[in-house]
Amino acid sequence: MPINYYIFLSIALFCIGIVGVLTRRNAIIIFMCIELMLNAVNLLFVAFSKMHHLKMATVNASAGTEGQLFVFFIMVVAAAEVSVGLAIIVMMYRNIHSVDVNFLNRLKH
């Protein structure tokens, strides 16, 4: 399949993720959208890795493995970030009994 299709899909997913981060009020939905962005990028990495492999396969049998390797790293980071983030949301709920991010305007002072 032409690489463009993968790129368009990835961009679309990424933009949906960004819009979701910017517009949604529920903290958990924002988190899901962040995950969506990260996964869009993962998709892109894998697609490029395959593209490279197809291009270089005649020279080097194990070409294009870097992309897939980096996807692992991203997944690890995502996992760590989720755990920390969810902990923050739990603390937030304990303080204001809501997960609405519009209440977070203490930085004004």
């Binding site: 910017l22 305007n105 930085l107």
Partner: protein
């Protein structure tokens, strides 16, 4: 081998030190100490000036360079003094007469509080310092520094009693009118620099350098310098400040407005004589303006009733004579008249100060009279001054004025006739002044009569010395037709004016003609003196002037003319600039900038909302911008 005249810097140094000590220590020094420092510094300068004079008389002239004042590209203006015959004559006059006036001031100003007394002497010393710079400078720039300095000190001293508004106005008037002349002087200096690249006398006056100047250059430069001189030396049209300057203390009038500052213009033209001799048009202009000023001021003096105003207009008139002399090429006569005028005019002013002091501050001669009974020394010395200024043979004024009139006749008989008529007017108003003040009966109040007394030694001493000088001062300039080779001053100054005499050619009259002219003028002057004496002793002019006399008493309404044509429109223009341009435009712009900053800061503040969402949005937008830039600008 360094020339011993390098020590000439001592001459202005003493007054400068006197200024600093008296100025800075004015709150702590005693009056006698202030007087001693003030007068002593000038005495020291006088002694050094005498030594310099002896040096120059023995043929030792020198230009002493001290340091580089301005050095820009090709232009080099050193701080240098030129000691030659012309400058040392002026040095003697300035320091000699200046010293006498300082001594006089210690008594005249003794009523002042010691702080103001010190301020007075500080200003006087600063004035002497500036005047010395003026006459000793070796280039036009140093002269201009002195020129400005004397203008400043004139302002400070005229407005010495600064608590009276009209005195401050008079001081302002003097300074502003001086300034107008200074502008012309500056433009002349710039013109010289542009054409010749130098302002030093020794270089500008070289014939080779003069050939670089076109005739219009020379005419322009000399004309502008002369306009500067009209401001400083009170000629038409910039003379109206001098009578108003009588608001200052009388010794100030004697020093600045009789003996020294007003002669700065004469010195400047005498110094630049080679330039002027190459420009006959400007010489004509100078003669005409000098003559016109002499006549105008003499007519005004006929009807003045303030003793100092008569002397002020007399000064303007005598300065006109000096410019007439310069214009007809008689440079030596002009310098000679500067010298004799310094003696008798300072004498007359100091004498009038003595009279004013005795009258308890009264200056109106209609309220005086019969003072010769009460003030013998002042009477005799004032009379000697009057005789000298009238030009009666035997006294100093006769020799110098005669030389001027002879030179004028050589140029044109019309000049001579008008000059002679003015001399008659001079004799007339001076003896009107003398007779009204000293002869007849006393017309003042009873209290004033009790107060009348001869002045102390510090005042009468200088009067006596100046009176002696007014008598003998003329004998250094005995003209050719009276005694061959006896004109010591002309011989002394001949190196300074040698170049001019070759350009202008001789201006000699036959001896018979000179005797005839002298005879005519002497007879007419004596008749005038006797007539004025008799008339005003018997019937002094006590009432207000009427008819044509009123025009003269009101100074030909020149001040009112200037007011209407120049001063009021300028004030209105300044008012317009203030209310419209200053308030609306400039303040609008400046305040507008402030308001703009205020507004934008208010708007920027809204960015800090504390909403995390908007922060994230801005982050995303920023990343987008960077991405776009990378994508589109990498190409």
């Amino acid at each position: 081998m360094k020339n011993v005249l390098e020590l000439a810097y001592l001459v202005p140094l003493f007054p400068l030190l006197g200024f600093l000590v008296n100025g800075l220590g004015r709150k702590s020094l005693s009056k006698s100490l202030i007087g001693i420092i003030g007068s002593g510094s000038i005495l020291a300068s006088f002694i050094v000036s005498i030594w310099i004079f002896i040096q120059v008389k023995n043929g030792n002239t020198h230009t002493a360079e001290y340091f580089n004042f301005i050095s820009v590209g090709d232009l080099r203006i050193p701080f240098a003094f030129q000691i030659d015959q012309l400058s040392c004559i002026f040095l003697l006059i300035i320091t000699g007469v200046g010293f006498l006036i300082h001594v006089y001031s210690t008594s005249y100003m003794h009523d002042e509080k010691s702080e103001h007394f010190a301020r007075y002497f500080a200003y006087l010393n600063l004035f002497i310092f500036s005047m010395l710079l003026l006459v000793m400078g070796a280039n036009f720039v140093i002269m201009f520094i002195g020129w400005e300095g004397v203008g400043l000190c004139s302002y400070l001293l005229i407005g010495f009693w600064f608590k009276k508004t009209e005195y401050n106005k008079a001081a302002n008037k003097a300074f502003v009118m001086n300034r107008i002349g200074d502008l012309a002087f500056l433009i002349a200096i710039f013109w010289l620099i542009q054409r010749l690249g130098t302002v030093s006398y020794s270089e500008v006056f070289l014939t080779e350098n003069l050939r670089h100047l076109t005739q219009s250059d020379i005419t322009g430069i000399t004309l502008l310098l002369f306009i500067g001189a009209t401001g400083k030396s009170a000629q038409i049209p910039l003379y109206t400040w001098l009578p108003d300057a009588m608001a200052g203390p009388t010794p100030v009038s004697a020093l600045i407005h009789a003996a020294t500052m007003v002669t700065a213009g004469i010195y400047m033209i005498a110094r630049s004589n080679i330039l002027y001799s190459n420009s006959p048009l400007v010489l004509n202009i100078i003669s005409i303006i000098g003559l016109a000023t002499a006549l105008l001021a003499a007519t005004i003096a006929l009807k003045q009733n303030d003793i100092k105003k008569v002397l002020a207009y007399s000064t303007v008139s005598q300065l006109g004579y000096m410019f007439l002399a310069l214009g007809t090429g008689s440079y030596v006569a002009a310098v000679f008249h500067v010298m004799t005028h310094a003696f008798f005019k300072a004498l007359l002013f100091l004498g009038s100060g003595s009279v004013i002091h005795a009258m308890g501050g009264e200056q109106d001669i209609r309220k005086m009279g019969g003072l010769k009974k009460y003030m013998k020394i002042t009477n005799i010395t004032f009379l000697i001054g009057c005789i000298a200024i009238a030009g009666i043979p035997g006294f100093s004024g006769f020799f110098s004025k005669d030389e001027i009139l002879a030179g004028a006749f050589g140029k044109s008989p019309v000049f001579y006739i008008i000059g002679l008529f003015t001399a008659l007017l001079t004799a007339f108003y001076m003896f009107r002044l003398y007779a009204t003040t000293f002869n007849g009966k006393f017309r003042g109040t009873h209290d004033q009569e009790h107060h009348l007394h001869e002045s102390p030694m510090a005042i009468t001493g200088p009067l006596i010395i100046l009176a002696i000088l007014s008598i003998i001062g003329g004998y250094i300039g005995i003209p050719e037709y009276m005694a061959h080779g006896a004109h010591a001053l002309r011989d002394f100054l001949s190196p300074v004016f040698a170049g001019s005499y070759t350009v202008l050619g001789p201006n000699e009259l036959s001896h018979d003609k000179e005797w005839m002219l002298t005879g005519i003028s002497t007879v007419l002057i004596l008749i005038t003196v006797v007539y004025a004496w008799n008339r005003f002793t018997k019937k002094p002019e006590l009432g207000e002037a009427t008819g044509f006399g009123k025009v003269l008493a009101n100074k030909w309404y020149v001040d009112e003319l200037y007011d209407k044509v120049i001063v009021t429109p300028l004030n209105k223009f300044a008012g317009f600039l203030d209310s419209v341009i200053e308030r609306r435009l400039i303040d609008g712009v400046v305040n507008g900038v402030g308001r703009l900053v205020n507004y934008s800061s208010r708007q920027l503040r809204l960015l800090q909302s504390g909403q995390v969402g908007s922060y994230v949005l801005l982050m995303v937008l920023g990343m987008l911008v960077v991405f776009v830039l990378q994508f589109f600008l990498r190409k």
